[in-house]
């Protein structure tokens, strides 16, 4: 399993042709207390860069963009009842969706963990 990162602070952990997607701990820290996560429906299809979810703090609502194209196989419905998980475990239990990748080649445009760390350093 390899984890990739976007410049918009999403991560995707890839296992074969499926990927688990969430937002990074850095993003969760920047947002402050997450109070609500709006997730897509299972079966929904997205192209890379489409907004597929919304994450809200008290004072802001942010779109979450699809790191790669694909279709939603599963959503993390636990987040509806416990949005605070995003602050506690953004890159673990607080994943947003599992997707079936449409085109694994798209992963090559993303950053690895080290590159993302450098990217955040520069912000």
């Amino acid at each position: 399993m390899t984890t990739y990162y976007t410049k918009d602070h999403e991560w995707i952990r890839v296992d074969g042709d499926t990927g688990t997607v969430g937002i990074t701990s850095y993003a969760a820290g920047q947002l402050g207390d997450v109070v609500y996560v709006e997730l897509p429906e299972t079966g929904a299809k997205f192209a890379r860069g489409d907004d597929f979810a919304v994450v809200e703090s008290v004072k802001a609502a942010s779109d979450v963009y699809a790191p790669v194209s694909g279709s939603v196989m599963e959503v993390n419905s636990a987040l509806s009842d416990a949005p605070e998980k995003v602050n506690e475990a953004a890159e673990g239990d607080a994943w947003f969706v599992r997707v079936k990748l449409a085109d694994a080649d798209e992963l090559s445009g993303l950053m690895d963990e080290a590159a993302y760390a450098v990217f955040c350093e520069g912000l």
């Binding site: 207390d33 109070v35 609500y36 809200e56 008290v58 949005p83 605070e84």
Partner: protein
């Protein structure tokens, strides 16, 4: 001598200063008060009604199954309930209320008295028009004032508030584009990034697409960015621009902007929220504007009422006037006033009806009372004093705070948080003002200035009040610059401490239920 040592002590004993809990939960004049649902019962009533006879019924069985169960209070209990709650509110009648872009000025009591005359308060919107000629005349008279003050030929009186006025203006633009056969092709509306949130929200409510334009280093529309957004013109519907803008500055290039938009085939909507700065000094009609709403609850002193009601009459240029909504008042040749209520005849090109009746009559009465009180001469003085007061605040505070832009401001002074030490934020300064007895300024708006603090004192503050306010804010600003950590927990002296907004949003409790009370008790 016959020495009498009886009686009460006349000098206080040394003060007992530490905080303590009272048995009642009250703190002196600040009385404890539970929720209505915890003190009332459904059988209690503060209204004496004759007993229903219960002999007649033509409901056809469409009857409520479960009673509301809503608690009532006797009149003395009800009076105390609301009086005690009222004591937890700040108000313009208590002190300076410097919310930028909100124009919290004194609300004259004559306005209230006039609005309660039975001839205005106790008339029905659908009673025969012959029986409400005075009401229609009042609307017409107020319309004349608004048209004259703005230099615009037409006004729609029915919008219910500022955002509703924006909707009115943008729907007129939509209708004008439809009439030109360009309703489908012209969908792009330019909105500065400094705009109030209602502007982009309104544009989208009308089916338009928002294209943001940047502010320049002077806090005005970035003309280069505007021109680049007008490289393509065949999809331009118009622009929504606030003037004076949300940075408290007059848009210097406003005539150019109007010309560019008109040349591109679009219309110019002006958000008139800040009209107080220019009333009697500048007529929007001389600036190339096509539509502008006026907040009667800002410039014309009708009370904000804790969030409304407002009133947002919207003036139109000749180009948009034919598309204005129904209903409107028309004076016929025989001197009688008449309501035009349907889209035909005098209103054949109207975009339609926005609202059930004729607008916020209660606010019209108050606004006209205010206008007549001030007159043309007084309103000009209103604008000048409002701008003078804001510039005075800016001048007094610019040495300890960071003005967002150079030069004079209009009716509000804008500061950034650049002067604060690390860890101290705008909100800490705002909350510390509460302890000093003031309502905070508008904070974190406009978005184009970091940690924005927008201060609008209005013209109804005396110099002495302004000085007291500036002294307080100056001292807080110095503490913020020094990194005084005690600011983080302010306010200390308000009826409530800082509230947990995260908790409210994560597990919303939007009404009282007995179960919720039990859950809280268990925690």
């Amino acid at each position: 001598m016959g020495m009498n040592t009886q009686g009460r002590p006349t000098v206080p004993a040394s003060a007992f200063t530490s905080t303590f809990e009272t048995v009642s939960g009250s703190r002196g004049l600040l009385q404890h008060e539970d929720l209505l649902f915890e003190i009332g019962t459904p059988e209690t009533s503060g209204v004496d009604l004759p007993k229903p006879k219960g002999t007649k019924n033509r409901l056809g069985g469409v009857k409520r199954k479960v009673d509301t169960g809503l608690p009532g209070l006797s009149e003395p209990q009800a009076v105390r309930h609301y009086m005690r709650l009222s004591q937890r509110n700040y108000a313009i009648d208590l002190g300076l209320f410097p919310l930028g872009s909100c124009t919290m000025k004194h609300n004259p009591r004559l306005n209230e008295k006039m609005a309660r005359l039975p001839g205005f308060a106790d008339i029905h919107p659908l009673q025969p028009q012959a029986t409400v000629q005075g009401a229609l005349e009042l609307i017409d008279e107020l319309a004349t004032w608004l048209k004259t003050l703005t230099g615009m030929p037409s006004v729609a009186m029915s919008p219910k508030a500022g955002a509703h006025g924006e909707l009115c203006g943008m729907l007129a633009i939509r209708q004008a584009l439809i009439a030109r056969g360009e309703g489908e092709s012209r969908k792009r509306v330019l909105v500065p990034e400094s705009a109030h949130g209602t502007n982009p929200a309104t544009a989208v409510q009308c089916g338009f697409v928002v294209d943001e334009i940047r502010a320049d280093a002077r806090g005005r529309v970035d003309m280069e960015d505007l021109k680049s957004k007008l490289a393509r013109t065949d999809d331009i519907a118009g622009i929504m621009l606030t003037n004076p803008n949300t940075c408290g500055l007059f848009e210097t290039d406003i005539k150019n902007i109007a010309d560019l938009i008109h040349k591109a085939g679009g219309y110019f909507y002006c958000d008139g929220a800040n009209f107080n700065a220019i009333v009697g000094r500048v007529r929007p009609g001389d600036l190339g504007i096509d539509a502008m709403h006026i907040n009667l609850h800002k410039t014309f002193s009708t009370p904000h009422g804790g969030g409304g009601p407002g009133s947002g009459p919207t003036v139109f240029s000749g180009a948009l006037a034919p598309y204005a909504p129904v209903p409107f008042v028309k004076k016929d040749e025989d001197g009688l006033f008449r309501l035009v209520e349907h889209v035909d005849g005098d209103a054949s090109e109207s975009f339609g009806r926005m609202v059930a009746f004729h607008g916020q009559m209660g606010m019209f009465v108050r606004a006209l009372t205010y206008m007549l009180s001030h007159g043309a001469d007084g309103l000009k003085q209103v604008a000048e004093d409002a701008v003078l007061n804001a510039n005075y605040v800016q001048a007094r505070l610019k040495h300890v705070m960071t003005p967002a832009f150079d030069g004079f401001c209009m009716h509000e002074a804008l500061f950034s948080d650049a002067f604060t030490a690390d860890g101290i934020e705008t909100i800490d300064i705002a909350k510390a003002l509460i302890d000093e007895g003031y309502h905070p300024m508008t904070m974190y708006f406009p978005l184009v200035v970091h940690g924005a603090m927008l201060i609008e004192p209005t013209e109804t503050e005396s110099k002495a009040e302004l000085d007291r306010f500036c002294d307080a804010l100056e001292s807080i600003a110095r503490r913020a610059a020094q990194g005084d950590e005690t600011l983080k927990s302010a306010p200390y002296l308000a009826p409530a401490k800082r509230l947990d907004e995260t908790r409210a949003a994560r597990k919303p409790v939007l009404k009282w239920t007995a179960a919720e009370v039990e859950r809280l008790a268990a925690e």
